[in-house]
């Protein structure tokens, strides 16, 4: 069986893990910090996702 050999890219991987952690923590903020009875939570989640989408669009893969 031929072995699949990939470049471990450990630096890229750890940077990506940090990025993932930041995104997950940012998405959990409403559980702790947003308590107003308006569209704040709704807007917050939408904006965080939009910012991440723009970041993905602009960053080098």
């Amino acid at each position: 069986m031929p072995e699949i050999v990939l470049n471990p890219e450990s630096n890229t991987c750890s940077m990506k893990s940090l990025e993932g952690l930041i995104v997950v923590l940012a998405m959990l903020v409403p559980f702790i910090a947003i308590k107003s009875h308006d569209l704040s939570t709704y807007a917050y989640w939408s904006v965080v996702t939009a910012i991440y989408l723009v970041y993905i669009s602009l960053s080098r893969w």
Partner: protein, 458 residues
């Protein structure tokens, strides 16, 4: 009713014409299952979106938002950021490998890395996980068609099954992708129309934002429904959807070049964000209208959209009904085609597309029979599907991050994770208060690392 049937006939004819046009040149499995790796970024994005976003969005998510509030948006957007995160890292690697080594199914990658037995086992597991899931989609849309008096339940199942099989049978992935692209755009447009209509006519004599505080705790998390544990239990399986669900994983093979792959991911992200915002906003609008007495209180959350369909103008009701139908069809035929490819290549080791087409028909019949008989356990299995598929995650990540592990580690990881998901669901238990999805991940990863280590020493 007649208007719906005319519109439905036009929809079916347009889809069939597209599938027939896509038939040309389909002679090999590469052409049939992954459109010869020549799909543009825009079509790739629309088929990825239409495959991902099922009838759950316009029915389940509208109802979930109506019943539970903004937590439903958080749950769905968590899935989206998870997908973007995973795709931005793994999609180029998977695309490179698939092109370099000629992969057609997700199982091809597993077979090369862990051995053919793992690919065989995986094809069986994903079939068990996804056949009930598709059946439930068919049940859902057929019930909606029945409630809106468009057609009977059995006729709805039969028509759905015929369209699922026909479009995939004729054009393979190219047929599915082209019909997905048209339907995906239609799903987005009808969601915009529904949100605007409800906003314009529901709040014509009052200010939406002034009335909003009447929703109370539905506007914040956690609330009575969205507890942190429930949120995590639902989010975890969906966060990894892009890697664990073969119908979307296989779509990483189809873009014609790297630029198209990148375009696919980014455009899918924009589609997902806009569609999710529209659908959840519709749920909030309807709940607020209930609170102020302008929309009936609906206790069954899956009945929220059907209730709306009976109140909106006929033309919009028809458009929304067809968009829900389209959402179910696009998801179902993509899954059926992927399962057909996995069973043909990975399970039976065949290179013939005739075998794949036959299996596609058999799968569609099986799904229809499941849907018509509606066994009690079918809904539980469908809900469990994303958790069951988590057992593949260590193996997929292992390809890119872990040198150890082979045939034994692959098979035992799948067996242990799959068994954990089934057992915890069957006994309805959450040991230590930890949800089944987390247990499935923990057991799968632990098995993978332990057996890989033992296998390496051996």
């Amino acid at each position: 009713m007649n208007e719906f049937l005319y519109a439905f006939a036009i929809y079916a004819v347009i889809g069939t014409v597209i599938a027939v046009l896509a038939m040309r040149g389909v002679r090999t499995q590469e052409e049939y299952y992954i459109a010869g790796r020549r799909v543009s970024g825009i079509v790739s994005a629309l088929t990825y979106a239409a495959t991902t976003y099922s009838a759950f969005m316009m029915v389940g998510l509208v109802g979930l938002t109506y019943a539970s509030g903004v937590g439903a948006l958080g749950f769905e957007l968590f899935y989206l950021v998870g997908t973007l995160f995973l795709l931005s890292y793994y999609a180029p690697k998977v695309w490179d490998l698939a092109r370099e080594r000629g992969y057609i199914t997700p199982g091809d990658l597993m077979a090369e890395r862990y051995g053919r037995e793992v690919a065989i086992f995986m094809s069986v597991i994903v079939s068990i996980a996804l056949v009930p899931y598709i059946s439930v989609q068919l049940i859902g849309v057929s019930l909606i068609l029945e409630k809106t008096s468009a057609m009977g339940f059995e006729v709805g199942i039969a028509v759905s099954a015929i369209l699922i099989a026909l479009w995939a049978f004729l054009g393979g992935l190219r047929g599915v992708a082209w019909t997905d692209a048209v339907q995906g755009a239609f799903m987005l447009l009808t969601a915009i129309a529904a949100v605007l209509w409800v906003y314009t006519f529901g709040f014509s004599d009052m200010n939406f934002f002034t009335e909003l505080p009447k929703l109370g705790d539905l506007l914040v998390v956690p609330n009575k429904i969205w507890t942190p544990v429930r949120f995590i239990a639902l989010v975890v399986p969906w966060f990894f959807f892009a890697l664990t669900n073969p119908q979307v994983f296989q779509r990483l093979y189809i873009p014609k070049d790297r630029a198209s792959l990148r375009r696919m991911v980014i455009l899918f992200g924009f589609f997902g964000l806009i569609y999710t915002i529209l659908v959840t906003f519709l749920g909030l609008e309807l709940r607020l209208l209930t609170e102020i007495g302008k929309f009936p209180a609906v206790s069954d959350r899956d009945a929220v959209t059907p209730t709306l369909l009976n109140l909106i103008p006929t033309w919009l009701g028809i458009a929304v009904s067809i968009s829900i139908f389209a959402a179910a069809i696009t998801t179902a035929n993509s899954i059926v085609l992927t399962l057909s490819s996995m069973l043909t290549r990975d399970l039976f080791g065949s290179e013939r597309i005739e075998i794949g087409r036959t299996l596609l028909l058999i799968l569609t019949v099986a799904i229809s029979i499941f849907a018509l008989h509606r066994p009690n356990y079918i809904v539980e299995l469908a809900v469990l599907s994303s958790t069951m598929l988590l057992c593949q995650l260590p193996l997929i990540l292992g390809v890119f991050h872990f040198k150890g592990g082979g045939r034994t580690a692959g098979v035992t990881t799948l067996a242990a994770g799959f068994t954990t998901a089934i057992l915890l669901s069957y006994t309805a238990t959450s040991p230590l208060g930890i949800p089944a999805s987390i247990w499935t991940l923990l057991v799968s990863f632990a098995t993978f690392f332990i057996i890989s280590r033992l296998e390496t020493r051996g």
